[in-house]
Amino acid sequence: MSLPPGTNLSADECQKTLQEIFRDFFDDDSLTLRPEMTAHDVEGWDSLANIRLLLTIERKFQIKFSASEVGGLHNVGDLVKLVAVKANGR
């Protein structure tokens, strides 16, 4: 289920994997990630779902978000950029 460390991921690959995670998590195969997308745009993305979603992403990419990093996320675009940086820094 999770990606082995040392795998170098392009921003595109991160986006693709994240989109898969989002689609599975929110049970919506038509969901398409856009950089300006926020929790308001997705049904079921409340604060609790947000926590589980972040934990799921951590598990899948084998990364850990710090408190301040999480605080700095305003939209999906920020998330994709952060994941791409962290996934390649393992």
Binding site: D27, S47, L48, I51, L54, L55, S66, A67
Partner: protein, 648 residues
């Protein structure tokens, strides 16, 4: 990759790839919704799977689908941390333990009002059981370093707080409280001194936990030893600072499935639904090796070598289960006399015949035997747990008798005891003298139960395994293993002719001999080389089977049929249409006395020493090919005429 016992609940089978689809499909059921939910809950589910299943259950409720035969239970959750994850996890895990739980949680940080006020949302829900899940961080545990008096007072007032909550809940209708004790944080102010000095956080928590155990002894309320659970997985793993900071999660969400399973075990135990009987395989489960082949001196049990120690450790754990009243039974594929031999004569065995209430050792399928054990003990199938090292047997019993708990076992017997304990099938909420007697009540010195025929579809199961049998003639690579099998096999061995490596090599190169080594693979794994055959063409028109042996591990899978069909194909290619087989009784191979009869051979002679001789006219055979793909390596292509072939 090895699955983690506590994070992945690795005693449970892996969830199918289409778990999501199966959840959706369950909503289309008309009258078996409860059964389908039960089936889905039996897999190892992560936190997202649990949420998905919980949503399926509540959608089903919205559509008016009954959860029967799951027993309904109303659970309240009173905690002072984030509990919204916990309620769906419990609802999705409960069916695994036979329960349909509706769960309501009290508001964060309002635990006192929720418990003592009649009008609180918790009490208006009228829960039958309330889980009181308090976290140390939100309790007033003020440190008082070295001050025994103040420390004592702090502990007492904390314990009184717990009592107030319990009383409040009782007053408003909840019949039982499950009280969670405190998992201490791994951080220390001093180090070892934190535990020894009064009034440190560590000492306070230790004393609160000890006090809870004492106070709960006087009550029918239940202790949920979260402190013990956290210690088992490691306090440093249990507590996740980042997850607390993120959302006040009281423990790492990686352990949510485990936590939910522990809660549900207590609920089930409270309702009398815990399992009561442990059925054990013998070979490679209670001892290393196969008693029928290796004999008393060859099996591994006892001190002095790591394997023997591992099995001893497992026997010790099984014995401790019996000591607290769990009934033991045996289900083994063995001659009855062989199976009982270690219990009677091996000095290092801890388990003895008298520890078992029922002793089933025969060559019939294990599901039928387990069914017979259940009937003999007047226990439902959902009271049974079955432990076997063989994934084939485990999966078969799971398919045919889904209510029997069958844990996935590690390949290393050193982990057997830990796995069985972690699975927690035998959770109890009370203990009385009668429990000690229960195991004895059933024991009439290892009875044998009568087998009824079982309506389990073995053919369908075999077909579902994706079996592949690979035949090769004897060759250099296989020589050592072939020689080993020839000299080691005792039970499924028709003539018990022992050959040295040199003699095996001679057969390999003998143009008047047909040699076969067979390897069996299936979805559950690779069984390695499991059968060896030597057929000799010394007489005109006849192939005489000099050697035919097979590993007992693959009995019941129709490997013998595949081998016979292979023999016939090769003989026919040489223009030989008559096969002759010999059975030479040795006292250890009674298992194959009727082997040739079962394959359709006719008995033509019996010798004075008991040897029987059988013949088959291969043109007249009417044998359906078993459900396995046949691969051949190292032969010239065999003419077609058989199904499921692949020539390499």
């Amino acid at each position: 990759m090895k699955r983690d016992l506590y994070r992945e609940l690795s005693w449970l089978p892996v969830a199918p790839a289409d778990f999501k689809g199966q959840c959706r499909a369950a909503l289309d059921s008309t009258n078996d919704f409860g059964q389908r939910i039960k089936k889905l809950s039996r897999f190892a589910l992560n936190d997202n799977d649990l949420i998905r299943l919980a949503k399926t259950i509540s959608s089903g409720a919205d559509r008016g689908l009954s959860l029967s035969p799951l027993r309904p239970l109303r659970l309240g959750l009173a905690g002072n941390g984030t509990s919204e994850f916990i309620t769906p996890a419990i609802a999705a895990t409960a069916p695994r333990h036979g329960l349909g739980v509706t769960c309501v949680s009290a508001g964060y940080d309002q635990v006192l009002q929720e418990c003592i006020s009649a009008e609180s949302s918790l009490n208006r829900f009228k829960p039958e059981v309330v889980l009181l899940a308090l976290d140390w961080r939100t309790l007033p545990l003020r440190t008082a370093l070295g001050d025994a008096q103040v420390a004592r007072a702090t502990v007492e007032s904390t314990l009184d707080f717990f009592d107030t909550l319990r009383q409040g809940l009782r007053q408003h209708g909840a019949s039982i409280c499950i009280v969670q004790n405190l998992a201490a944080p791994p951080e220390r102010a001093f180090g070892s001194l934190d535990r020894k000095l009064e009034g440190t956080l560590r000492s306070l928590i230790d004393e609160v936990n000890a006090g809870l155990s004492l106070r709960l002894r006087e009550s029918t309320d239940i202790l949920f030893d979260v402190a013990g659970l956290a210690e088992t997985v490691g306090l440093a793993n249990w507590h996740s600072p980042s997850e607390w900071n993120l959302a006040k999660l009281p423990f790492s969400q990686a352990y949510l499935p485990l936590y939910a399973d522990h809660v549900c075990r207590l609920l089930a135990a409270q309702r009398g639904l815990s399992r009561r009987c442990l059925i054990l395989d013998l070979d490679n489960t209670l001892w290393g090796g196969v008693i029928g082949d290796d004999g008393l001196k060859g099996i591994q049990i006892g001190q002095g070598d790591p394997a023997g120690e591992a099995y001893l450790n497992f026997q010790q754990y099984v014995l401790s289960l019996r000591e607290r009243g769990i009934v033991l039974a045996v289900s083994s594929k063995n001659e009855d006399a062989n199976a009982r031999l270690p219990f009677r004569e091996h000095a290092d065995m801890l388990l003895r015949e008298e520890h078992f209430a029922v002793f089933q050792a025969n060559w019939n399928d294990k599901a039928a035997n387990i069914q017979a054990i259940a009937e003999t003990l007047s226990l439902g199938l959902d009271s049974l747990t079955f432990v076997d090292d063989n994934p084939f047997e485990r999966e078969f019993v799971r398919k045919v008798l889904p209510d029997v708990a069958v844990p996935e076992m590690s390949e290393d017997p050193a982990d057997y005891a830990r796995t069985l304990s972690a699975a927690g099938y035998f959770e109890a909420v009370s203990f009385a003298a009668e429990d000690l007697q229960r195991a004895n009540y059933y024991a009439q010195n290892a009875r044998r139960a009568t087998l009824q025929s079982l309506a389990g579809d073995i053919e369908a199961y075999l077909a579902s395994l994706g079996m592949e049998i690979e035949f090769q003639p004897f060759n250099e690579t296989g020589q050592a293993r072939i020689t080993q099998l020839i000299n080691k096999s005792n039970q499924f061995n028709l003539t018990t002719r022992r050959y040295s490596e040199a003699e095996v090599a001679r057969f390999q190169n003998d143009p008047q001999a047909l040699t076969l080594q067979a390897r069996l693979r299936d979805q559950l794994g690779d069984n390695g080389m499991i059968s060896v055959v030597i057929c000799r063409f010394l007489e005109a028109g006849v192939g005489e089977i000099d050697t035919w042996l097979m590993s007992c591990r693959v009995l019941g899978r129709r490997v013998e049929d595949a081998v016979l069909l292979e023999l016939i194909a090769h003989a026919s290619r040489r223009g030989i249409y008559k096969l002759r087989g010999l059975y030479r009784p040795t006292g250890r191979n009674k298992l194959v006395e009727r082997h040739y009869a079962k394959l359709g051979f006719t008995q033509v002679e019996t010798k004075e020493d008991g040897t029987t001789i059988w013949e088959l006219d291969t043109k007249s055979i009417d044998l359906k090919a078993p459900p396995m793909v046949v691969k051949r390596i190292g032969f010239e292509a065999v003419a077609s005429g058989m199904s499921h072939q692949e020539c390499v």
